[in-house]
């Protein structure tokens, strides 16, 4: 991919009219981009190849490069493999990630609004303390006491054990503070006040509509980070009530060399996000990019 480094050289002797337009892509840039896309997609493609083959073929040398005809059978096997609790894992992950996302977005927009557009004593100090906590990977650092807490509450193996510690997201507050500062002019808040709106009403009617794109970015990131959380669920959940990530991990543990089964489960676990991504691709890219420059 280092070829991209040279992509900027449009002024080759035989450059076409694009010579006047330094912002047009050269064939070299295009080739480099296509190669990047190939690298991005290949592992996913290959995952489907193995998922559609038999286990014996998965370790063939040379490796299979085209899909086979066993996909249906393998999918059926994944769902029939009771001890993997695959469906439970998918459902759990949707529940956990959605709940966390919803709460993080709610908590962050509320606090973001307060920090960005309200005046109160200790504002700077409190905001600073949140910035500090952003540097603390609490779920990793506090893993021992959090685990003991869950044991004492008899919450190991339950979904609240993987939801509650993740509701805390300093990054979200920071992001929404930044975003609100950009998207909601102070005059607007003051005008609403003069209008007699209460703080909550301002939040609901003025702030929320304005910060929606920021919320979308935060929601997307929170959802994905949570969907991919592995360490904590691995410790605190049990195989009969897993998240999708631990379900796949247990599946690889239980059916070590049944690659077709493992890869099919893995492919299925990727599918929901992939579908959302392809359907909403334009909006996701747009939202991400907008959120990135705004905050």
């Amino acid at each position: 991919m280092t070829t991209i480094a040279h992509a900027g050289r449009q002024r080759r002797a035989h450059a076409r009219p694009s010579r006047r337009d330094p912002f047009a892509a050269t064939p070299l840039t295009k080739a480099a981009l296509l190669f990047t896309i190939f690298l991005s997609v290949f592992p996913l493609y290959w995952m489907v190849v193995i998922a559609s083959r038999t286990t014996a073929q998965a370790v063939d040398v040379p490796p299979p490069l085209l899909p086979g005809g066993n996909l249906g059978e393998n999918i059926a096997r994944v769902f029939a493999t009771e001890d993997a609790h695959f469906v439970t894992g998918m459902t759990n992950s949707l529940i956990v990630s959605s709940t966390v996302t919803l709460s993080v977005v709610a908590i962050s927009t509320l606090a973001g609004f307060a920090f960005a557009r309200l005046r109160f004593r200790g504002r700077k100090l409190l905001l600073g303390s949140i910035l500090l906590t952003m540097m603390v990977p609490i779920q990793q650092m506090g893993i021992v006491p959090l685990y003991q807490l869950m044991v004492n509450l008899e919450w190991t193996g339950t979904l609240q054990a993987v939801i509650l510690p993740f509701l805390l997201n300093g990054f979200g507050v920071f992001l929404m503070t930044q975003y609100t500062e950009q998207a909601v002019p102070m005059e607007l808040v003051e005008a609403a006040r003069v209008d007699g709106a209460s703080t909550m009403r301002i939040y609901w009617n003025v702030v929320l509509p304005a910060v929606r794109p920021g919320m979308a970015v935060l929601a997307l990131q929170t959802f994905m980070l949570n969907w991919n959380e592995f360490m904590w669920p691995l410790i605190v959940l049990t195989p009969d009530n897993p998240t999708v990530q631990t379900s796949i991990a247990f599946l690889t543990g239980q059916h070590t060399t049944d690659y077709a089964l493992i890869f099919t489960g893995t492919a299925l676990s990727v599918l929901p996000l992939l579908v959302v991504f392809i359907v909403f691709g334009r909006q996701i890219v747009g939202g991400l990019m907008e959120g990135a420059v705004k905050a």
Binding site: A56, T91, I95, S98, T101, L159, R212, D240, G253, D258
Partner: protein, 453 residues
């Protein structure tokens, strides 16, 4: 970039989606079994018991036995979950987490010999089986197997499943390719001693280059350790008063030295036993021999046949020969009922059934797991057993004579953790990341680290 309407809608859609999903939270999740209420031997309500085991291939060999139980007990259905091939690194630590948390462990769980020291020292984790009348099983078991199931408080908490035994599983086709004899009697004659075994490996390697003679150092290290332990006071990494013995027990050094010899002979496929590439290598034929306690037959057969999905895969390719250096007792397990079970009575009943001579013989048939009960060991079914898949090897003749005299090896409370750490050194030596001349030093220091904790 301007805010546009579409993005706003996206956010709204996301929130709606999240809310809908959030609402399903009320119905999803949980996964708790409803308690069966009063526990009688034939509960009115249907209950499900979970049986958790470990091991590769057919592992505990309980498929047939569990099917039979489920057919006979419509109200007590058993889910048989083999969690992972790896006891020390994965199964046991996870199990200890669950035992400690009071949630996650099955109703009946398998414990490898290496975990028994710790299990005995933690009576709070397990149900007292004497409450359910299992003391009457004492006469079924050899004294050592029985006594190891009695915990620090003098309570019976576990009954034995299988014992080790020792043999060599080998690939006939690969032996033929190397110009070696393939008949099991003649193969046994190739290696009266371990040095002969290595010499055979070198001969093999002269002819065959793409396949290695042995799977990896670790399997053979354990084979020799189990043999040598029997000659050195029946201890392994710890003395009977739980002092670290890696430096003082000659058995450990002897096994280590053998591993070094295998390494230096260049006959190892460098695969770590019970892990993914090892199992794949077994299926693809990356090595010609593997050290085979009884239960290992099931690991090989189960792996090659993909848990019986291709029952004829590799059939007649493998055979079983006697091992150099005499019998050994590597492996062998117990079953216990964690205190957290909601159905201790039914679980104890299941445990009683699975450790019965009848079920043990079924497991022996399924996975080669050598029975630990005396009636099963004495039965003609075992003594005359032939394993069809392993080229009709007379496994009754191979394992039968020694099975009753297998020595009980004392393993200590921290055996499992110690084993995990020192085996890393053996593996490091195998894959070349630890130089041979530094390996012993490191072996000792790793063991000390665990022992001193």
């Amino acid at each position: 970039m301007m805010i546009n309407k579409r993005r706003g809608r996206l956010a709204a859609a996301a929130v709606v989606m999240a809310t809908t999903l959030g609402m399903t939270a009320a119905c999803g999740g949980g996964g708790e079994e409803t308690a069966g209420g009063g526990s009688s031997s034939a509960p009115a309500e249907k209950i499900t018991l979970t049986l958790q085991t470990f091991g590769g291939g057919t592992n505990f060999g309980y498929k047939a036995a569990v099917e039979k139980w489920n057919a006979e007990h419509p109200n007590i259905q058993v889910k048989y979950n083999n969690l992972t091939p790896d006891f020390e690194n994965t199964y046991w630590p996870q199990m200890l987490n669950w035992l400690q948390a009071g949630k996650g462990a099955g109703d009946v769980i398998g414990i490898d010999e290496g975990g028994m020291g710790l299990a005995k020292a933690r009576p709070q984790f397990f149900t007292d089986l004497s409450q359910y009348g299992l003391l009457n099983r004492q006469n079924d078991f050899p004294a050592w197997k029985w006594e190891n199931g009695i915990n620090a408080e003098g309570k019976l908490f576990a009954l034995g499943t299988d014992v080790g035994g020792m043999s060599v599983c080998y690939r006939k086709d690969l032996f033929e390719k190397a110009g070696l004899p393939t008949d099991r009697e003649e193969v046994a004659k190739l290696w009266p001693t371990w040095d002969d075994f290595i010499a055979t490996g070198q001969k093999f390697q002269e002819k065959v280059t793409d396949v290695k003679f042995v799977d990896g150092l670790n399997t053979w290290f354990n084979v020799v350790l189990s043999q040598e332990a029997a000659k050195n006071g029946n201890i392994s990494y710890y003395t009977k008063d739980n002092q670290l013995a890696v430096e003082t027990n000659p058995a450990v050094k002897a096994a280590f030295d053998f591993a070094v010899k295998v390494k230096q002979a260049g006959i190892s496929a460098k695969l770590r036993n019970f892990q993914d590439p090892w199992l794949a290598g077994m299926r693809k034929g990356a090595f010609a021999t593997v050290g085979c306690p009884g239960w290992m037959l099931g690991v090989v057969q189960g792996t090659v046949t993909e848990d019986g999905k291709n029952a004829d895969a590799g059939k007649g390719q493998w055979d079983v020969a006697t091992v150099p250096g005499g019998s050994g007792n590597w492996g062998g397990s117990w079953l216990a009922v964690p205190k957290q079970t909601k159905h201790p009575k039914e679980a104890a009943e299941l445990l009683n059934y699975l450790t019965s001579p009848e079920a043990q013989l079924m497991a022996f048939k399924e996975g080669g797991n050598l029975p630990s009960t005396i009636p099963a060991q004495d039965s003609p079914e075992l003594q005359n057993a032939v394993n069809e898949w392993f080229s009709n090897a007379p496994i009754g003749k191979i394992f039968g004579p020694s099975v009753k005299s297998l020595p009980p090896i004392y393993l200590g409370e921290k055996h499992s953790q110690t084993k995990a750490e020192v085996e890393n050194v053996i593996l490091g030596m195998d894959d070349g990341s630890i130089p041979v001349d530094q390996a012993w030093q490191r072996f000792i220091s790793e063991a000390k680290k665990v022992a001193e904790g």
